[in-house]
Amino acid sequence: MDVFDIVGPIMVGPSSSHTAGAARIGKFALTILGQPLQAAKIYFSGSFAKTYRGHGTDKAIIGGLLGMDTDDIRIRNSLKLAKEKGLQFQFFETEIDNAHPNTVQLELAGTEGKTVVVQGASVGGGNILITKIDDTEVSITGKATTLIVPHKDVPGMISDVTNILARRGVNIGRFELKRSQKGGTAVMIIEVDGTVDAEVNEMIAHFPNVIDSTVIAAIG
């Protein structure tokens, strides 16, 4: 916690959890998609489902999906902007089992054919927790620079990736490996101090057996 957690964040109102947090989840999901968004299905659960209109949660999510930060005043008109850009989007009210009251699931399709499903919760004060990426359960706060590396579940992958980070002087603060099944697809979630160069990210993405690599900048 620092002074800007108390006097801050700078945000578009009215609610840090229902508006600012929602925008952050949207932007986080867009970064994971890694290409311009073409279509989005948005499933609101819990309190989000009941009150999203009054809190502008719909506008905040779409704003985030258009790449806007929490303090971007265009969030107010994001639905109109999205339509003008030709983005297809639909909202659904649902109930996701065992989820935090402010949970949203985003099914995204990019213009270059990639699809991704991201589930996240707005846990208070604009803080978020990404809980699922496709079928993998994760736990990402976005407070540190986060590297997400899906790869084939074969020996040596962790050392390949962490070696390059070590050589570039990048310090790892948290490391998590998730896999759905032996020999299938696994995902490394690496939180680091400072930032990661785009060049390093490119190198990791081109390692044999790495499927993709995405760097998500720390939430300011």
């Binding site: 916690m1 620092d2 002074v3 800007f4 957690d5 108390i6 006097v7 801050g8 964040p9 700078i10 945000m11 578009v12 109102g13 009215p14 609610s15 840090s16 508006t19 600012a20 309190s47 009941k50 009150t51 209109r53 009054g54 809190h55 502008g56 506008k59 303090d71 005043i73 969030i75 107010r76 208070g124 004060g125 604009g126």
Partner: protein, 300 residues
């Protein structure tokens, strides 16, 4: 420094013979690995956003997305400008500014959460009104925001700044205490006075529930921001006159935590009790969200 207590902040400032904000700026610059200049510059940006959020709240015809609120700041400002207020221009200005920022928030405008979006009008209204009235340097107000933040950090650590955890006392109460601390420092009060102002502000609002109609940050939040800035001036004024709080600030914060813990969940941002559960509160909820969501007045 861990921001464990107001007493620690005061002791450090006294030891070094400086202001609480000086201690906080030095410590935070180190912790965030930035220069003191860069840190203060970032706070200046927040202060500028606070000013803009006041200005945008004074626009005529402002209505929130839900239709529940809007236009109060405009009315208050008109009363001030026409010289119709009971307590004079200064106090009327403070109330108008608090309403303006809160309404900007309800209308999806840009604000600085201080410490939350629900209580975002109190700190800007207190500091901006004082700055204009006393012709104080802008830099003094920006630095005072660090003192306010430090108080907020202590409260967040030892009690709560979330309505869902501690009721409105945790949001508008914390904001009042932060604002009172900043006002006292900006007016040249001693560090002990800062501490007493914090204590008095929280004492005056202890036990206030969070009962938003339809669960939205509008009714009664907007008006409680006006009450919050009034409370901040009451606390600062008393402390600057040399009046002390019999209960020290850290114990008042402890009491706030205990009161929050013993408060029913219905009174902590669930929109199930208090004003949200009144016949009119329920009717307004149905108007915004329809029958299904507002079954019995609850935001289910």
């Amino acid at each position: 420094m861990k921001y464990d207590s107001v007493a620690e902040l005061c002791a450090l400032a006294k030891e070094k013979g400086c202001l609480i904000s000086d201690i906080v700026i030095t410590e935070q610059a180190k912790a965030q690995e930035v220069t003191e200049e860069a840190l203060v510059e970032r706070m200046e940006k927040s202060f500028a956003v606070m000013e803009e959020s006041v200005a945008s709240g004074f626009e005529e015809g402002l209505v929130s997305a839900s239709g529940l609120t809007g236009g109060a700041a405009y009315k208050m400002k008109q009363a001030v400008d026409e010289g119709k207020t009971i307590c004079g221009k200064f106090f009327g200005e403070a109330l108008a500014k608090a309403l303006a920022v809160s309404e900007t928030n309800a209308c999806m405008g840009k604000i600085v959460a201080a410490p939350t979006a629900g209580s975002c009008g109190i700190l800007p209204a207190a500091l901006l009104t004082l700055m204009e009235e006393k012709q104080l340097p802008r830099q003094t107000m920006v630095r005072a925001l660090f003192t306010a933040s430090a108080v907020g950090m202590v409260i967040a650590k030892n009690a709560s700044i979330a309505g869902a955890e501690g009721g409105c006392q945790a949001e508008c109460g914390s904001a009042s205490a932060m604002a009172a601390a900043a006002l006292v420092e900006a007016c040249g009060g001693t560090v002990d006075m800062v501490s007493h102002a914090c204590a008095i502000a929280i004492k005056n609002i202890l036990g206030l529930v969070c009962d938003p109609v339809a669960g939205l940050v509008e009714i009664p939040c907007t008006k409680r921001n006006a009450a919050g800035v009034a409370n901040a001036f009451v606390a600062a004024e008393l402390a600057l006159a040399g009046i002390e709080s019999a209960i020290p600030a850290d114990e008042v914060i402890w009491a706030m935590k205990k009161v929050g813990d013993s408060m029913s969940a219905a009174l902590k941002e669930t929109a199930e009790g208090g004003l949200a559960a009144t016949p009119t509160g329920k009717r307004l909820c149905r108007r915004v969200f329809g029958e299904r969501t507002c079954n019995g007045g609850k935001e289910l």
